[in-house]
């Protein structure tokens, strides 16, 4: 069977090397001006080196250009996309139609992945973007397994990417909510520490033991899920369905944690592709390896894969 791609974002060249080493088939990189919630921002030179590293191993490099752009960011976008093309990036992830338009005009042969996160919820919508020439859709994390299966079925030859592990963004504001709060408290001195490195999180007053990581960057405030998805138990279903790409979300995790996750999924994908029994026999061991590294405050769950939503 065709193996799905194992994908992760890297924030620097060390991560690129380590993640390739740990079994990633594709790496996403980007710069904070254009990409959302990157584990780190890279210069063009670094991205070029990343491209060389990735391609030397026969793997793929994607550029994350999935921000909600304002007029200012449009200036220089064309040039940036041309540079990405020149360095040999294999695809561009976008969310804002302005990026699609600019790419179609500037680098018409560049594959495009629609990665708008929360709003990628139906095969009809994905079908719409397919008519605009995308090659892949990254699905919302709030879909269940049946919905994913149906989308895959209806998507024909469009590539479908799902997240198999890690946290997800559940709230994105342009407002600098963390520094506003610090100002409100009168703690001007500590405003420096409002980003990812600070390790801030929120707890709703009435909900015990549920912690939502929060951080602020140039794009505003981001709140992340309190749980880490781990769909290892049902990886066989996703593989049987022919899902093209499995994303590991490594944001707010140590490189070591992400390497473990990649290694486990690498082994799991390879095992299942070879022989289903081989996969099921090792499931418990893999899960133990993940649990060992898991922050006890953050349960590993199946996220929305088996959850019913009401509205």
């Amino acid at each position: 069977m065709r193996k799905p791609e194992l994908l992760i974002a890297a924030g620097n060249l060390t991560e690129v090397k380590q993640y390739l080493e740990a079994g990633a088939d594709a790496i996403t990189v980007g710069t904070e001006r254009y990409g959302l919630r990157l584990p780190g921002t890279m210069t063009l030179e670094e991205m070029q080196q990343a491209a060389d590293l990735v391609h030397a191993g026969g793997k793929k490099l994607y550029a994350s250009v999935n921000g909600l752009l304002h007029n200012n960011e449009l200036e220089g976008l064309e040039e940036y996309l041309a540079q990405l093309h020149e360095m040999g990036v294999d695809a561009i992830e976008y969310a804002d139609p302005a990026v699609l338009m600019t790419a179609k005009h500037t680098i018409p042969n560049m594959p495009l992945h629609w990665n708008a996160e929360i709003i990628a919820t139906s095969f009809h919508t994905i079908g719409y973007w397919a008519t605009k020439g995308i090659q892949r859709a990254v699905l919302s994390r709030e879909l269940n397994m049946d919905e994913i299966m149906q989308i895959k079925e209806e998507a024909c030859d469009l590539e479908i990417e799902v997240q198999v592990h890690g946290m997800s963004c559940i709230f994105h504001s342009k407002r600098p909510l963390v520094s506003s709060y610090f100002h409100h408290l009168g703690k001007n001195a500590v405003i420096e520490g409002k980003g990812k490195e600070r390790g801030l999180y929120l707890k709703e007053e009435k909900r015990e033991d549920i912690f939502y990581p929060v951080y602020e960057d140039a794009c505003g405030t981001h709140i992340m899920s309190a749980e880490d998805v781990c769909i290892l138990d049902n990886l066989d279903e996703l593989m049987e369905a022919g899902i093209h790409s499995f994303r590991v979300e490594g944001l707010l995790k140590s490189m070591e944690y992400n390497e473990t996750v990649l290694r486990v999924y690498r082994e799991a994908i390879d095992a299942y592709a070879k022989d289903a029994d081989l996969f099921f026999d090792q499931l418990d061991t893999w899960k133990e390896r993940l649990e060992e590294k898991q922050d006890p405050k953050r349960p590993l769950t199946t996220g929305f894969y088996y959850k019913e939503l009401v509205f």
């Binding site: 338009m101 929360i118 919508t125 709703e204």
Partner: protein
């Protein structure tokens, strides 16, 4: 003195002929009629499917027809919000839905998801499509993209500034709609699934439970579980996302000059009193400015009126700058609205100065009430004499929707509103 010279030679401006549209929320048929009476050029409503306000009294096709006929008879338009982000299962019957909207005479639909845009083009090719703020359109090139897709109007994300709006208007010839009043999502609209994660309700399909208005504690990363260090100290307010409400009543000249085509008031879940008060204030301010831009002055009465229907203190959102601490609400939730909708005037007997009033909140003799109607009609009085529908004198009106007659000190007319202090 060059400044003075410049002032003297500045050409006098005549009236502005192309006024921006005042677009009001109409969560029910009654609110629709009120909005139109109080001067809305257009209203937006929700159907029983595909709309984000699952709890609003959404309209049946018959009610839509009645509302549309009423609005059209008064020269106003009706838009239907079909602004969910659809899942596979939601698309059943969506083409028929749009066809039906076109048939009942709806003027445009407000859509966020391209899947619904396509369905609308198929089901009702002539129905005008507006792109919802839920699509988070924040730059001119995206606006251009949607224009090329046949979208007649783009409701911008609330995150764009005046400067950005002016550039968008300059670059793209398409109608632009922007929120100018009401509650705001602290997130980019649509880019929030707090409800999904906290309560298993889908915020982008009408299930939003306003988790952003709850209180949160902010912690530093602990080394071990159960060892948490709060960022705040003893007695500090908890963390909050909660934004003050948007209000641009004091900035009408810039709003009009920015070229925004439609000025949107938020609040399909808000009361009749809110709709009437807010629409009335903006209608007067816009008319006054457009009639004579050189001599426009903000009437403090409009601002006072807006505050009577306000639920929170107000901010100018992203129009001038990115909101900071002063634009958010920390600590106790506010409940500013100090006025209740006491009664709706149904009729007026000018000879005897007696109004027929339908009760909406109980009132009694001696109580001070305010009457207001479209335009600047406004007065205050104490309730002196009242009669029930059998002509008997009464002291109080305790029953919802009971009809009473009341002596009034100044003329009123049908659709006028009587409000009282809470």
């Amino acid at each position: 003195m060059p400044e003075v010279l410049e002032e003297k030679t500045a050409p006098k401006r005549g009236p502005i002929l192309k006024k921006p549209e005042v677009l009001a929320p109409a969560g029910s048929l009654e609110k629709l009629k009120i909005a139109v009476h109080y001067g809305a050029d257009a209203v937006y409503i929700g159907g029983q499917q595909f709309s984000l306000r699952a709890n609003a009294d959404n309209y049946s096709y018959e009610e839509m027809k009645e509302g549309t006929d009423f609005a059209h008879a008064h020269g106003a338009k009706v838009y239907v919000a079909a602004n969910i982000i659809a899942h596979n299962e939601d698309m059943q019957g969506v083409e028929e839905f749009f066809a039906k909207l076109y048939e009942v005479g709806i003027d445009a639909v407000i859509v966020a998801d391209p899947a619904l845009i396509e369905a609308c083009k198929k089901g009702a090719p002539k129905l005008e499509i507006h792109l919802s703020t839920q699509a988070s359109t924040t730059n001119w090139q995206s606006v251009q993209f949607w224009k090329d897709e046949g979208i007649a109007r783009v409701v911008l994300a609330r995150e764009v500034s005046f400067e950005e709006i002016r550039k968008i208007k300059e670059k793209v010839d398409v109608e632009i709609e922007q929120f100018i009043h009401g509650a705001m999502c602290p997130a980019y609209s649509g880019r929030c699934v707090l409800s999904n994660h906290m309560t298993a309700r889908d915020s982008n399909r009408g299930g939003c439970c306003h988790s952003c208005r709850w209180s949160y504690d902010m912690y530093e990363n602990p080394e071990e579980a159960n060892q948490h260090a709060t960022v705040s100290g003893e007695g500090d307010n908890p963390f909050s996302f909660s934004s003050k409400d948007l209000s641009m009543i004091e900035h009408i000249p810039e709003i009009v000059e920015s070229g925004i085509d439609s000025l949107k008031i938020e609040g399909r879940m808000k009361s009749v009193h809110y709709v009437a008060t807010v629409v009335n204030a903006y209608r007067q301010a816009i008319d006054a400015y457009c009639a004579d831009p050189d001599h426009y002055q903000l009437d403090p009465h409009w601002v006072e009126e807006i505050h009577k229907a306000a639920h929170r203190s107000t901010t100018t959102g992203f129009f001038y700058d990115i909101p900071g601490p002063e634009d958010h609400l920390y600590g106790e939730a506010e409940s500013l609205a100090e006025y209740d909708f006491a009664g709706l005037v149904l009729d007026y007997d000018a000879d005897n100065r007696i109004a027929t009033i339908q009760q909406r909140t109980h009132f009694k003799l001696g109580q001070e009430v305010e009457f207001f109607g479209p335009g600047n009609r406004f007065f205050r009085q104490a309730i002196q004499e009242m009669w029930n529908d059998e002509g008997q004198e009464i002291e109080k009106a305790p029953h919802p929707l009971m009809v009473v007659k009341m002596r009034v000190e100044q003329p009123v007319s049908a659709w006028d509103i009587m409000r009282k202090h809470k």
